[in-house]
Amino acid sequence: MPFIANTNQQRQEMLAELALTMDQLFADIPADLRCATLDVPEAMSEQSVRQHLSRLARKNSSQMINFLGAGIYDHFIPAAVDALVSRSEFYTAYTPYQPEISQGTLQAMYEYQSVICRLTDMEVSNASLYDGGSALYEAAVLAVRATGREQLIVDDSCNPLYRNVLRTYTRNLPWELVETRSAEGLPDRQRIKAQLNERTAAVIVQNPNFFGSLDDFSDIAEYTHASGALLIVACYPISLGLVKTPGQMGADIVIGEGQSLGLPLAFGGPYLGFIATRRNFMRKIPGRIVGRTVDLKGRTGFVLTLQAREQHIRREKAVSNICSNHSLCALTALVYLCLLGKKGLPELARLCADKAAYAHQRLLNIPAVKTPFPATCFFNEFVIELPSCPEHLTERLLEKQIIPGLPLGRYYPDMHKCLLIAVTEKRSKEQIDILARAMEQAL
């Protein structure tokens, strides 16, 4: 039997020493609760399981020319990332409860927390959350607890998938969730101001936002703080090689999806939620946090710390229910950022932005294609407007092995003629030209 070490003979010997039969080992389960049958296929060999799953993998079209982003981006992953993360001392360990034999995970998490702070210009990060959506929810919980207020203002230029998740989680809570309508692809200041009041816990905005547009939220930070609320900024970590940081803008809590930092698309996960804040909120931040300390001989070491926030200590009074997090994904992000380095990250961000600028220019040369937001700057993703709904065009391009982007009508009904297009360093000029020609033909 695979994965079971004891032989039949060993089992018999062990049972004999216990003076029990196998059936007696389960005698505490009443007879009427015992499984009569188990309708599961017969055991497969490793060889047949690999064949079966290779066949399923081939049924997925994973080798198309991909301009789909919307929060999850097709960046190149250096081979060293997987080589290091695949070391089983990392991936077969659990939460580092015993620090003396977990310094690998612990130091890596401390370094991860440090790079997240350096990227976002914040002071404290935890050791990871599940994904961008759950990070947004945890940030909202933090803001509600920190302010004692229960209204949240979320701009609709924030990722609609995450806004939907936030709506699910707040359904059973006495919170008020207000969505403000963006204008010209950016948060509408007047609408946000109109909603801000003494019950507002936080204003939530995103940069670059779901449309790829870039903004500076310093003004929003100012009046949000003046009303006693917190500013939560969601961001795309690769863009931070180039664009103004949430910390510089005055954000109180920064969150985001860390998938772009060396994690594969993998049909939705596992990804990486990150959260960073200022030191005054460090005892309210959710999840594991690693701190630097010394051992009995004065040597530097690392431990899980501020555990009085957590569920295993505080139970129903904990700041979050999170236990398992996405530690290995945080390690992946750390290794990726170390390989890119101080010069590599800005260069990569610039390369993505320049390629996107080319794609934008090239597509707008098509007479039928327009830009809905001529005045905004964008990072590596932008919206184009077509003469009619992009659904049909999308389907035709998929048949040509091109994923042209995301039609926006499902999330923004008044943008039903719009398509959201992302360009990473993996897309060549040639591929961008192929997209443009295919669009020209289809329109």
Partner: protein, 481 residues
């Protein structure tokens, strides 16, 4: 060892980026740009590889040696699952491709994995449907409690309390509270099981549900679980099953047949996906028939022609609990594992897990206090009270085990046992590893009497000795800025 930042050398590079093949320059206003670059380390690829290789050598995993961390089910993680999870057909698939017009047919392999895993989990747990969406056990709990809330909302029930036994995992009360419920703790009886009389007294019209782990965190199966479910259902409250300990029951008993309405399973425990140094895991949630409408969106269905599609059109759904379909690459590993065990392998898992736990329990019983001396399932909980009288606490025993090459058991949990040592051997360990562990434990128990100082000074063999956890909690150094 140095931090990676301390190894940085000005202008050193690891990666060469592709050449820029376009002439355009992005036109971004200066006011939107970063003024100071992020201070990431500057290293060669070999610097990075050596740093993380050295870190990995300062870690301990299931592949290192025996890892009997109670309630965490640290079984062997098959290598073939790692191989499968890295097939480009899965790793290079954008989740939103399935949502584009005409995109579903381009993701049929991935949708099949989700659909088939759902079917297998239904059969194993005796339930009507599963969502593979939750990212972890605690995330599954929150999902389950939100489903509970949706059920009561639709029925017009005004219920505010969730009952949870005193020895439950901390995530149970934390999840219930996050979903807006009050938590009431139910005491255990003398045998370590949830006190059925106390439960009966606590149940009333305000009770929304009960969260139960079965076998519980002492490794004990509640023989009256069916009666408990009936009592709870009589108040139109729902039964939640925390599947953290499902390993003990695979192929032997099903939570659905016991009367549970909502169940989460931990793929990273029962179904052998790696724990990743703290995650990612996955916590699919299964439901009985009358709760299916509340499942989070989407769920994967199969059409008559055999093709799969994502169903988002579910008006009573609690909504999406994540952006996509859960931790797909983890679900994939669990799917491969279940297929390899198959019909005959699943019950063997439970048998060997239970046999190994009872073997450890009986062999260690003469040396450590066993507060609940009875048949156990996947784990057993000792108390170091006897040793504590000589000044040797559960923590000291843990550190002494480290010096003997073992990962310690879970300590100080469940909270209902003083000086708890919670040992879960799992089915993938052989009698030889159990015997070696038993030998080490006996030696420690003897030293605790004869030479306790030798234990309090452990660990001696590690890269650091015991660490100062108090001062870091008071003056936290949480990042190198």
């Amino acid at each position: 060892m140095k931090l990676i930042f301390e190894k940085s050398v000005l202008s050193r590079r690891a990666l060469r980026l592709p050449n820029k093949d376009v002439d355009t320059v992005a036109n971004i206003n200066d006011s939107l740009l970063r003024t100071r670059v992020a201070d990431l380390p500057e290293l060669s690829e070999l610097d990075v590889v050596r740093h993380f290789t050295e870190l990995s050598r300062r870690n301990y995993g299931v592949d290192t040696n025996f890892y009997p961390l109670g309630s965490c089910t640290m079984k062997y993680n098959p290598k073939v699952a790692e191989h499968i999870a890295r097939l480009p057909g899965f790793t290079e698939l954008h989740p939103l491709l399935a949502r584009l017009p005409g995109g579903e047919k381009l993701t049929q392999g991935a949708l099949a994995v989700l659909y088939e895993t759902d079917l297998l989990l239904r059969e194993i747990c005796g339930l009507a449907a599963f969502t593979t969406g939750p990212f972890a056990g605690a995330h599954g709990e929150l999902t389950g409690v939100m489903i509970m809330a949706a059920y009561h909302r639709h029925k017009g029930n005004d219920k505010r309390t969730i009952l949870i036994p005193d020895n439950a995992h901390g995530t149970n009360p934390a999840s219930a509270a996050l979903a807006g419920y009050q938590v009431q703790t139910i005491p255990s009886d003398k045998t370590g099981l949830m006190d059925v009389t106390a439960l009966g007294q606590a149940l009333n019209d305000q009770t929304a549900g009960v969260m139960l782990t079965c076998p519980n965190t002492l490794g004990l199966f509640h023989p009256r679980v069916k009666q408990i479910c009936r009592m709870v259902h009589d108040f139109d409250a729902l039964m939640y099953y925390d599947g953290a300990n499902l390993n003990a029951l695979l192929g032997y008993a099903r939570p659905g047949e016991m009367g549970f309405d909502i169940v989460h399973v931990n793929l990273h425990k029962t179904f052998a996906t790696p724990h990743g140094g703290g995650g990612p895991g996955a916590g699919p949630v299964g439901l009985c028939k009358n709760l299916i409408d509340y499942l989070p969106v989407p769920i994967v269905h199969k059409k008559k022609d055999g093709s799969y599609f994502l169903d988002y059109d579910r008006p009573a759904s609690i909504g999406p609990i994540g952006a996509f379909y859960g931790n797909f690459a983890i679900i994939l590993r669990a799917y491969a594992y279940i297929l390899m065990l198959g019909r005959e392998g699943l019950p063997r898992v439970a048998e060997n897990a239970v046999l190994n736990a009872n073997y450890l329990k009986e062999k260690l019983k003469p040396y450590f206090d066993l507060p609940f001396d009875q048949l156990c399932k996947h784990e057993c909980v000792f108390s170091a009270s006897r040793q504590a009288k000589n000044g040797i606490h559960a923590l000291d025993i843990a550190k002494a085990l480290i010096d003997r090459g073992f990962h310690p058991p879970t300590i100080y949990f469940p909270l209902t046992v003083p000086e708890a040592l919670m040992i879960e051997p799992t089915e993938t360990e052989s009698r030889q590893s159990l015997d070696a562990f038993i030998q080490a434990m006996i030696e420690i128990a003897q030293l605790a009497q004869t030479n306790p100082q030798q234990i309090t000074s452990c660990p001696q063999t590690t890269v650091v000795s015991r660490l100062d956890e108090t001062s870091v909690a008071r003056h936290p150094d949480l990042a190198c800025l």
